[in-house]
Symmetry: C2
Subunit: 244 residues, 2 copies
């Protein structure tokens, strides 16, 4: 029998799924999980995801890490860096530890941990193939967890879930309408993800492009520019290639 | 300025939307809101939606109404009738009161009332044009409330929300990714809604067709077979044509 795959379109829906026997993929395309993949791809030692700005500052001080994060799409007060993948090129991030807090992605990650997820990884278009290769090897149930925006379903995370499903549908049992909706949406958009986001005037596209972050959006919708697999273990996300 | 339109893809997401200044459209295509439209179209005096089987039996006895409802897609124990629109032809239902409880639809309706919705109506493909005509006349904010299945997003309610949006998009300000996802899904499916549901093997299609209810599904996906506008007022849904 094939393992099951479900999609949770919002953190508010995560309690509906049995994460305790599943690998949970945290998806926050704009921009947390794109930035996590990028920082690790560029040689960061690890990324420590924390769920509050206060904790970010405290841990950053303790371990001499780089504190970063956003609230409502802007650098959070008291932190050194934001949530743009372009802030973490190799010459800056290599060998360092990034302590990261974001509005939606790190919150969902902690929810999944609290609910006893068997394993937590992060996914984005940036590391799409690495995520799919890992999931197809594990032969275990999967929950794709979209981070959404303050619990409101968003287009880009749904599209990324759809992209994963598109690559894995034959390997999993998918009795999940949310997954089918995500897959249908992706098939509509896949030829030009950026164009689709712009045409739909997706809420997050609108928000970020208003801040002049169109290049961030383009980058975050480009598949496989940061082909690593961020795996959560004891408080840290590391690119543990041996795990796959 | 145009009024806003939002879509809540699951009852678990309804608290995210400001229903207190909105008309809320309860959508439960398979089968509660299709059956409500059909019963009223066929002359039922009113439909009393209740959120428990016990209350259904009690009220049914008090007012000598017809008790009906399902739990998990089957007639609930202690009730006389089920949730199939075919159970309510004119020769049976005309002039009578239907007391109805269902797994998802009546639950969402009561949630919307508790949250102080300005007005609650019910929508389905069966009464699509009546709903759209009403909404476009009111010039008021709208929340499309999908009943889903035990809080899990489903394809058919999302499609119905998409069908409403398809007809109303120019009349409303739609800054809502869920609405855009619903609209995209509908545009993919609109040529053959039944074929789309079957091809996707939608969870509810699978469940009901397993009970031999394919004809119910076909009926519930057919637009405008029961062109009434069920409006909630003081505990009852009536087809109040004067309201539009």
């Amino acid at each position: 029998m094939k393992p099951s795959l479900h999609t949770s379109l919002s953190p508010a829906l995560l309690p509906l799924y049995d994460v305790s026997s599943s690998i949970v993929v945290i998806i926050d395309v704009l921009r947390a999980t794109s930035t996590i993949a990028t920082a690790l791809y560029n040689g960061a030692r690890c990324v420590i995801p924390v769920d509050s700005v206060a904790k970010c500052i405290e841990i950053g001080r303790q371990i001499e890490g780089i504190t970063a994060g956003e609230r409502d799409g802007k650098i959070a007060e008291g932190l050194e860096h934001g949530n743009s993948p372009f802030e973490y090129p190799r010459e800056f991030i290599e060998g360092k530890t990034l302590v990261l807090t974001t509005t939606n992605g790190t919150k969902l990650l902690h929810m999944a941990l609290e609910k006893g997820a068997q394993r937590v990884i992060t996914g984005a278009f940036s590391n799409l193939d690495a995520v799919c290769a890992y999931l197809s090897k594990q032969q275990q149930s999967v929950v794709l967890g979209c981070s959404a925006w303050k619990d409101r379903v968003n287009i880009e995370d749904t599209l990324c879930a759809g992209a994963i499903i598109h690559r894995l549908e034959s390997a999993f049992e998918i009795n999940c309408d949310s997954s089918k909706i995500a897959h249908t949406l992706y098939q509509d958009a896949k030829k030009d993800l950026f164009g689709f986001m712009r045409k739909q005037n997706a809420s997050h596209y609108h928000r970020l492009s208003g801040y002049g972050l169109e290049e961030d959006i383009r980058y975050c919708l480009t598949p496989n520019v940061a082909g690593v697999l961020p795996v959560y273990n004891e408080g840290k996300l590391t690119s543990d290639l041996t795990i796959s």
